[in-house]
Amino acid sequence: MMRSIVLICFGLLLPILVAYRFAEREPRADFTYVNPSGVHTLDPARMSWTQDFRIALNVWEGLTSWDPKTLAPIAGAAYFPPEISSDRLTYTFRIREDARWSNGDPVTAADFIRGWRRAMEPGTAADYAFLFTDHIAGAEDYVRWRQETFDLLKSLDTVAQAVEHDAAFDQAAKDAEEHFSNVAVESPDDRTLILRLTRPCPYFIDLTGFPTLLPIHKSIELLRAQYRGAPYNRLGLVTYDPQWTKPDYHANGYSGLVTNGSYRIADWQFKRRVRMTTNPHYRDAARLACRTIDMLEFDNLSASIMAYESGDVDFLTDLSVPYEHELFRRSTNGERPDFKSCKVLATYFFNFNCVDEEVNGRVNPFRDARVRRAFSLTADREHIVNNVLRRGDRVARSFVPHDAISGYGPPEGLQRNVEESRRLLAEAGYPNGEGLPLINILYSPSDEKVCQAMARTWEDTLNVRIDLRALESKTFAAEKREHRFMIARGNWYADYNDPTTFLDTLISQNGNNDSGYSNSEYDDRLRRANDASADEERFRILQDAERMVVERDCPILPILHRVEMIAVKPYVHGIIPNARLWFPFREIRVDR
């Protein structure tokens, strides 16, 4: 009996081990780095995570790129700078003659229009579609029409209304090109791209390097959904086979993913690895020092640090482990110069619920700006940054980080003043905190330390009772969206290099306005800033608007501006810490 068991076990074990022993092994890449949470998508239109952007901007190239030192826009697939009309509305880009796709095809203006149209189509469901609808003339109307068409076709999508549905579908398919022709993007020839904005936008050139505005090769059309001979799905949406991002996908004559950046995707193994190799047709292909680059995926940050320490990995893009403060300490005392800090364009803050009269059956005192201001005046940010987190973050008293956006100086913000906060609380009808209900703070578990410290400060200084509610991240987001909080943790990473990337989130109708703050004066100031003709005037208006929210109305309480740590082996050159965590692989050289 025991002999049978041993034989069965060995019978199962041996072939597996032999197969693994002789499995083909690829040589190590020239450069290996870890993206801890891996790749969510390689579809540039659907990306919203930094690690996805990092790959996209290395395997694709937009009209412009960003200088890794200054983050200023530089030439990309188009010559720089573009021609800008005197009214600052029309931009003319000239595509470089030597811009090539990884299959050798020239990059054309039509490729950009294809990528942009795809990103603004509701069927693509791009998070950043607003970059088109907010800025490009005619885009908002086009998207609205597409949405109405979708709503109509969806309402008719029943067996009983099949005839009406198909008639409406045919009409919509016929009208689509005419509607899109009103979007102010055109290509008079293969190398010229002309676009017109709805209003002057001083940071628009910066946006043209953003992943949502990348070009898409024409081969994707082989994978476009068709219905009744038209290139739309049954509900009139433009959709593609989601497998189009795979380098080895060949359905319907598709040749696999074609990109135009310095690198191309050679292999993508789900949750394991993305291997990139040089794009042989890239203009500087011969100059690229690393021929192969591996992005490994480690779910466990500590394991990725161990892999780095053992030399299996050359670069880590994220060191946010529970012992990050220790890594920061070693970095600053010179013990580990390979651990570097990046002052990212991000603000960590608290939202006060400005709208709801009641929260979970209790009166919400934060509808009163005096209470919000009182709570803001007692916040001890230095304690959070220097004693609680200890990882080199910068104290934040403004929403927009200081020294981050050239020409813009954020307001000073509120200094700690406990006496004034007590006075304000008494004025609001809560002398010495009496009469205040149990205050709830909503957060996700990673914010535990900060929220505990804040709660303690408020309890000690304002004599209030705090109820801390830690929720798993999805539930936290849902509760925040439904406004079931009095105070909730917020975190905002800039999308582009302008104060409005932060300040727009507090406009009354903005979908990311978690506090529910609504002030027509603030909205009006942001509108006036958009219409301002000179940068100085625009920044002055924005500064006034920001002062309103961080010093007077206080819908948010800025706590800190994030510093994120990376680890770069000493033999790796060309990785420059910057606010966007943008590391162009074409600059990297490895001297092991």
Binding site: M1, M2, A129, Q243, A307
Partner: protein
């Protein structure tokens, strides 16, 4: 016997269906928007397009569509990984988990059975006591502690094994060993208990009294009935080792199915949650049927009961 096994098969299908229905109910009841990636809110247009793409407007339709697709081996799209469908995710992760889990069970079986037998044969001696202590330790210490410890010693300090990744023989020993330890401990204890009971039975005492050597009595006469509790444990244990190795996968960076169990639930990815639950429940039912079949082979009296 065939009718009995067919009956078990039918009951298994019904079980899997109920597990699916219950999971579906939980998936649609829990708070959190599966379409919401981070904290940045999506526009109405984006949400409408995604709801339409994934048939999320109508729960009943989604319930039926998913089930229909699953019957045709199409588990549909994943919300968290839009470039991949659930079939690709399962096919990429399941072989890895089956390999690590299968090897862990084989290791546990090959070491646990002899250890249990030796422990029972030397009941009350120091060998027995030390085996019992060791197994209790293996059961009590969480695998993430054992895993991290092994990783530190063998990968970081001694450089005998790689720290993470997958694809070579060198990636196997540490996760397999870590995963096998609790199973090894259970098997040792089950085997010991079964063997002690078996050795105490009348027919073994009679055989020994008639001059059969203890070695023959143990391995030839007592082993088969003593192994039955281990066998019944092997079904759920194998399924658990193959699909529930989340912690070990996390510690060693093994790209297996366990991580999708947890991450899909955290990401509110209904397609992937339902797919992983279906695969797990189907595996569990299948292993139990196989074990039932082996049971009848080892102990023919059970055929009558079946």
């Amino acid at each position: 016997m065939t009718r009995g096994l067919l009956g078990r098969f039918g009951a298994g299908i019904i079980t899997v269906f109920f597990v699916y229905a219950l999971t579906f109910l939980m998936v649609v009841s829990i708070p959190g928007n599966p379409l919401q990636g981070g904290e940045r809110k999506m526009s109405r247009e984006v949400e409408a397009a995604l709801r339409s793409r994934y048939h999320m407007d109508d729960n009943w339709r989604y319930f039926a569509d998913f089930l229909g697709g699953a019957l045709h081996a199409d588990l549909g799209p994943s919300f968290s990984y839009p470039d991949w469908n659930c079939n690709q995710i399962i096919l990429s992760a399941l072989p890895v988990s089956m390999l690590v889990g299968g090897l862990a069970i084989i290791v546990a079986l090959m070491l646990g059975v002899p250890l249990g037998v030796v422990s029972a044969a030397r009941q009350g001696e120091w060998t027995d006591a030390s085996f019992l202590s060791a197994t209790l330790t293996c059961i009590s210490i969480p695998t993430f502690v054992i895993g991290a410890f092994l990783l530190y010693i063998f990968a970081v300090r001694l450089h005998w094994a790689p720290i993470g990744g997958w694809g070579t023989l060198a990636h196997l020993p540490l996760p397999v060993l870590t995963l096998s330890l609790p199973f090894l401990a259970y098997i040792t204890r089950l085997m010991r208990a079964g063997m002690i009971e078996s050795l105490g039975s009348d027919y073994i005492r009679t055989a020994i009294a008639k001059g059969v050597s203890p070695r023959v009595a143990i391995w030839k006469h007592a082993f088969k009935p003593a192994f039955l509790p281990v066998l019944s444990y092997l079904g759920p244990a194998t399924a658990q080792a193959m699909t529930g190795s989340f912690v070990v996968e996390k510690v060693f960076g093994v790209p297996g199915l366990g991580q999708h169990f947890v991450n899909a639930a955290l990401n509110r990815d209904p397609g992937l949650v339902l797919s992983t639950v279906l695969v797990f429940s189907a595996l569990l039912v299948a292993f139990n049927i196989v074990i039932d079949f082996l049971y009848t082979w080892l102990d023919p009296r059970i055929i009558e009961a079946v």
